[in-house]
Amino acid sequence: MNEGNFQMTRLSKWMEGAGPNSEIVLSSRIRLARNLKEIPFPYLASDDQREKIYSLVKGLVENNKETFENYEFYNLTELSQLDRQLCMEKHIISPQLVKDSNNSFMLLREDEAVNIMINEEDHIRIQCLYPGLQLENAWELADSLDDLLEERLDYAFDEELGYLTACPTNVGTGVRASLMMHLPGLVINKQINRILSALSQVGLIVRGLYGEGTEVVGNIVQISNQITLGQKEKEIIRNIHVVARQLIEQEEAARQALLNEGRERVADRAGRALGILSNARIIGSQEAMQLISDLRLGMDLGLIELDRKVLNQLLVVIRPAYLQKIQEKELDSYERDVCRATLIREMLEGKTH
């Protein structure tokens, strides 16, 4: 167990910016929800029962030292609220775990690409988070970890209903597959709303970066499957993959059209974004997100030379918990805006040509 030296400000694998189609797909995530037989789901379970689930997983990990060589347990109860929030900003844990982390643990791989959460909404949640469009790879990894856990754990499984979960929206496969996509071309040509509402009609959930009910910020959308029962895991993944392919095609066409209409305009937009981001002294997160998007578009189109990794990192470091973590104190909104601007300036310094 590692509590003291929590290196949450390090890079997660998904931020590397590598992977197929990474100019449009930021990350791919697979999450599997699993529960043990008869023990009440975490929100109803007693402390002893929650503890028992942890020790079962812990025993299993100790018996598979090779597989879990680069993993570490974290007791979320013992992490500060800020550290938990930071994990959420990095997409490692869900918002639920930030609020309610009684006897909740995470078993995190060093590169943060794999996280096994214990006592979240379900007893066990296996999450694999990869950069770029790699849902299949993420699924294969999650699937094999699931098999390994199942060798020792008695899962709640029903022949008719599949894996039984706390929320009926996860029952069946327990699979949630999500993609985070950057679609500035479709926002600029105003196709985005039409396309996104079409997606929601084919059983996909589409949200802005900050979740339901929010505007699309920084031209980033999340797409995930709504249905978990009645389709095979591979079908669920294939469906999202097909949709992602179409979105990529349309986004590429939109970007090409922008170039054809006026290369200078796009370059101007990116250049201005760089100008503001490299010089601003106070900046809100929403403005920063939009400018980072402009910069990313300029980079993707070869108009500005920049490291994709830096832009992915920027998406995380401008968030409130991260800013407060590096300052090692609480910041009000004005202080955060100042700190954000400073950090962005520092990160862009010497990174552009």
């Binding site: 997409h91 039984l164 900050y210 979740g211």
Partner: protein, 178 residues
């Protein structure tokens, strides 16, 4: 519209929460919403999904969905004690046994959420080996029909023999359940 919290910035986050059956609306700016923890970097489609299906639930658990007879007694899980009425409010089951106790009522909800109440995906390797064989038999029966339709009788015969083999395997380990 201005943010109802700081009354200063434009409200861009619009949330509807159902608390004890009362619908409450919130209009916040990004900042206040994120400070109140409403606006999370949510990978988990929590809000949408809970709202989506709380609309589908019968609120008091007494009004049965079409085709399901009204219960004469309170529906409750023997294992964890959760009642169907509580489930309707929380939107979560209490334990894996709840699925059995809430039966048809829950099944019809699942059909409305997923369009199906029949799992076709992964089966656990260790504990589900028998179920896996049964599924395999089912798949092979479909294949058998296809081969017969295509008049590939030699292939069909092979598949039929395999099905028999698998069926014996299942019966061998099982004390006649069907």
């Amino acid at each position: 519209m201005f943010c109802q919290e700081c009354k200063n910035k434009k409200a861009t986050v619009h949330l509807t929460k159902i608390i004890n059956n009362n619908k409450k609306e919130f209009h916040l700016c990004q900042q206040c919403a994120s400070e109140k923890g409403e606006l999370e970097f949510a990978f988990e489609p929590k809000f949408s999904i809970h709202h989506f299906f709380s609309g589908l639930l019968d609120v008091d658990g007494l009004e049965a969905p079409v085709g399901v007879p009204a219960p004469t007694t309170k529906i409750q899980c023997d294992n964890c004690g959760l009642t169907y009425a509580q489930f309707s409010q929380i939107g979560r089951l209490g334990c894996s046994k709840c699925y059995g106790f809430f039966g048809e009522r829950l099944n019809s909800l699942l059909k409305r959420i997923h369009g199906s109440a029949h799992h076709t995906g992964k089966v656990p390797h260790r504990s589900g080996s028998k179920i896996r064989v049964k599924k395999e038999i089912k798949d092979m029966r479909a294949e058998l029909q296809q081969k017969i339709a295509q008049e590939e009788f030699e292939e069909a015969a092979k598949i039929r023999d395999k099905i028999k083999e698998l069926e014996n395997e299942v019966k061998g380990g099982e004390k006649k359940n069907e």
